[in-house]
């Protein structure tokens, strides 16, 4: 046997402070109430830092700072000058990418190979991409002189903390808005390091404000009368509440919510690559991906063969220390999420689906869940309908292309889908019929700043990324 020795990335590259304040008006400040919470490493349950909890007063202060910066500095600034700041931030992110990647893996639990090779390169690419738009807005297709909205309230999830920050902040700033961003309470650390990068880049005070806290902080932010735009990525349940709270106001809203994507494998698919795509679709980032390919729809005539290959491949997945460079699957982000994954998986077994995981030893401390597949799943099972947001795949079969379309679309969600076939005409036929914002063909979970991303139906509305991503931050 060829055993890989531990290959840990050094955590000494990042300096975590014992406590962090709120980033308001260009400086770190203590919250008015003095409240705080802890951010833990989900792989060890070790407390990483004490984080300030922003109350309504703090949110108000941040929104005012953003308003002043918008009116006095950022709004009037020519696009070419805004671009300089964004380019500078992008370069600083690249320079400090190792530090940011290690911090992301510590706080989130995702494997270092993903934070290093996927998250960070995409974060920098997003800032570079939108920096390029800042002085070209008249050419974006939204009229000769599109105007920003003002102050954007942005609430982001814990699955891709820094990447979601980039998706929100880069287009907002490029379009001329200022922002108040609330990172998720379990993963605030990279957002706070990003605040330091804003200082390092000499970004004018108040253009970016970061308020940390949980649901109450988020509610205070999106309901604040001083914000002109609300952007949210997270669960459909919270998205609904936000849509209700901003209804009837002037606030522009974009929502990027849950998903239950179908990954459709036809009998003429390149099987070995399709199996890689299935694995990447559901086990990438522990399945904490809104566009995860959590429903495998496989043509019945090749189902046995695909499942056999899939199981063999899953046995190669290395679960463990997120900082080990050879880890494929890291820790579940929180105890709460682990409970939800367990509950839905138990429901899958109880409803009669067959559960399988490869033999794999899980660490004793921390939050862990072995990669799991359920076979014999039907459309009526909870695990085929509800978003699990974990490394759990539901396998269904189909007989004809029409049945594949029917089953793929038979979900309240519509964020993404995957098609695996050697036949180009079938890809085009199917992509036209899938009600999903992103359709991948012979690949999965591919992201690029130039490509718009967003959902149909209960997966939300508005698009992020690409030229389309500017629309949500312009008064059009």
């Amino acid at each position: 046997m060829f055993e890989y020795a531990p290959a840990p990335e050094s955590r000494s590259v990042v300096d975590i402070k014992p406590s962090y304040g709120l980033f308001v008006d260009g400086a770190f400040v203590d919250p008015a109430s003095g409240g705080s919470f802890k951010s833990v490493n989900p792989a060890s349950e070790e407390v990483l830092a004490e984080i300030a909890e922003a109350g309504a007063d703090d949110v108000d202060r941040a929104v005012r700072a953003a308003r002043t910066a918008y009116e006095k500095v950022w709004g009037p600034m020519p696009g070419r000058d805004r671009a300089k700041y964004l380019f500078r931030i992008a370069r600083l992110i690249q320079e400090r990418s190792r530090e940011l990647a290690v911090l992301e893996s510590l706080d989130n639990g995702k494997p270092i190979k993903e934070s290093r090779d996927v998250d960070l390169p995409l974060v920098a690419a997003h800032f570079f991409y939108y920096a390029g738009w800042a002085d070209k807005l008249p050419h974006a297709g939204f009229g000769p002189d599109p105007k920003p909205l003002g102050v954007a309230a942005q609430v982001i999830p814990w699955n891709f903390p820094l990447l979601m920050l980039a998706w929100k902040i880069a287009p907002a700033l490029a379009a001329g808005n200022t922002v108040v961003l609330k990172p998720a309470e379990t993963t605030p650390l990279t957002a706070l390091l990003f605040a330091e990068i804003c200082q390092q880049a000499d970004l004018p005070a108040g253009v970016v404000n970061i308020v940390t806290g949980a649901g109450d902080t988020g509610r205070a932010l999106v309901e604040h009368p001083g914000v002109d735009k609300v952007a949210f990525t997270g669960s459909t349940e919270v998205g609904r509440a936000i849509a209700r709270s901003v209804a009837g106001t002037r606030k522009k809203l974009t929502l990027e919510l849950g998903g239950k994507a179908a990954n459709i494998v036809f009998d003429d698919a390149p099987i070995d690559q399709a199996v890689e795509g299935i694995v990447n679709g559901i086990f990438f980032n522990q399945g904490h991906v809104c566009c995860a390919g959590s429903r495998l729809l496989v043509q019945e005539s090749v189902a046995d063969r695909v499942l056999e290959s899939l199981k063999r491949r899953m046995a190669q997945l290395r679960v463990g220390d997120p900082l080990d460079k050879n880890t494929d699957i890291g820790a579940i982000n929180s105890a709460e999420q682990l409970t939800r994954i367990r509950e839905l998986s138990d429901a899958g077994s109880a409803e009669g689906a067959e559960r399988w995981s490869p033999p794999c030893e899980l660490p004793e401390r921390g939050f862990w869940f072995a990669p799991t597949i359920f076979t014999g799943v039907t459309q009526a099972h909870r695990i085929a309908r509800e978003e699990i947001f974990g490394p759990v795949l539901s396998v269904l079969t189909f007989r004809t292309p029409a049945e594949a379309v029917e089953k793929a679309n038979n979900t309240p969600y519509g964020l993404s889908a995957g098609i695996w076939t050697d036949k180009g005409s079938r890809i085009l036929w199917l992509a036209d019929r899938l009600r999903a914002g992103v359709v991948w063909a012979n690949t999965f979970n591919k992201f690029d700043p130039t490509s718009p991303f967003g959902g149909y139906k209960e997966s939300g509305y508005g698009r992020e990324g690409g030229r389309h991503g500017l629309e949500g931050y312009l008064n059009v």
């Binding site: 890989y4 070995d272 460079k325």
Partner: protein, 325 residues
């Protein structure tokens, strides 16, 4: 009963089905074209991913020794002489004269005319003697001459024969011709092991590589090998990945295990370790032995020795501390 895609087993076992394939051009074509396709982007991405594994300390030491044992130390030059190949054979036996714990390589690979000189040195050592035959590297000679080439090499002492397939026939779709040549060569080998060189650089697509791999295995090859080293594109990680998948699926279908030999262009320890990781995670431990995986290389060995010394002593020794043979 197993089923193979493009060919459903209807008789008692898949094994008998596959052995029938070579009898007709149509059956071969139907089978080979019924194999699942290879998505180029996906295969290259998977190979690149495996290349990011971080192999350190004890794992690296084990990998280096394993890689040394898998080297087919090769010289295939017009300028090869008895003196040159004797020196190479001596190095194969004791790659690092300063360190008796260093293992010997897997085999020495030379032209048929050089086999007798190498055989004298290697006799009884456990190091195999491979010879390229069948009008290497182009394979463009009448079959009788190719077979005579093989017999001569075996008689002179080669216990492994590296043959080239008829790429012209393969690319023009004359699969039965390629098949028959391999079968005839295998017969001419007698007890010697047959490695079938696909020359993947000339096959150009991964679909072709997969088909040629199956064709070579169906015809009785003991090993499938990527390249002659004589065309611009030699072994690559994605090509080797596709071949590893083929030997894995072939064993699942027939029960017979076939070895894999990437050859040409593998020059560094880092590269060699990437291949070993790929073997480990694609076909598993059963193939992690010189009996089932080889590197066709010459300069690779000195880099492996240099890294091996670095691991034991903590410092890099200059190139003059390693023999040039």
């Amino acid at each position: 009963m197993r089923t193979i895609r493009g060919m459903t087993a209807t008789t008692t076992s898949a094994r008998s089905d596959l052995s029938e394939l070579g009898r007709s051009e149509t059956a071969l074509r139907t089978f080979l074209h019924g194999l699942p396709g290879v998505d180029q982007v996906g295969a290259e991405q998977r190979a690149a991913q495996l290349g990011t594994r971080s192999i350190k300390t004890t794992a690296k030491a084990e990998a280096i020794d394993l890689a040394i044992r898998m080297v087919d130390l090769t010289t295939l030059e017009g300028a090869d002489t008895p003196g040159k190949v004797r020196a190479l054979a001596a190095k194969a036996l004791r790659p690092d004269p300063a360190d008796p714990s260093c293992p010997h390589v897997g085999a020495v690979c030379v032209y048929p005319s050089m086999v007798p000189y190498v055989a004298e040195v290697l006799r009884g050592s456990g190091v195999h003697l491979a010879s390229v035959a069948t009008a290497f590297p182009s394979g463009q000679a009448p079959l009788e001459i190719k077979l005579a080439d093989v017999r001569a090499a075996v008689e002179a002492g080669a216990d492994e024969i590296d043959m080239v397939i008829n790429r012209g026939a393969f690319l023009s779709g004359r699969y039965a011709e390629v098949y028959d040549e391999i079968v005839a060569t295998k017969e001419a080998c007698g007890d010697a092991h047959l490695k079938v060189i696909l020359e993947t650089g000339e096959l150009a697509t991964y679909d072709n590589v997969r088909r040629a791999s199956w064709l070579a295995m169906l015809a009785g090859g003991d090993f499938i090998k990527t390249s002659t080293g004589k065309v611009p594109v030699a072994a690559t990680l994605p090509v080797t990945l596709v071949m590893l998948e083929a030997v894995r699926d072939f064993r699942a279908a027939t029960g017979r295990q076939v070895g894999v030999k990437p050859a040409g262009g593998i020059k560094t320890t880092k590269d060699a370790i990437k291949y070993l990781v790929m073997v480990n995670e694609t076909v598993g431990a059963d193939w992690l032995s010189p009996d089932w995986f080889r590197f066709g290389a010459s300069s690779l060995l000195n880099d492996l020795l240099m890294q091996r010394t670095k691991l034991t002593t903590g410092v890099y020794a200059g190139p003059d501390y390693f023999t040039l043979d």
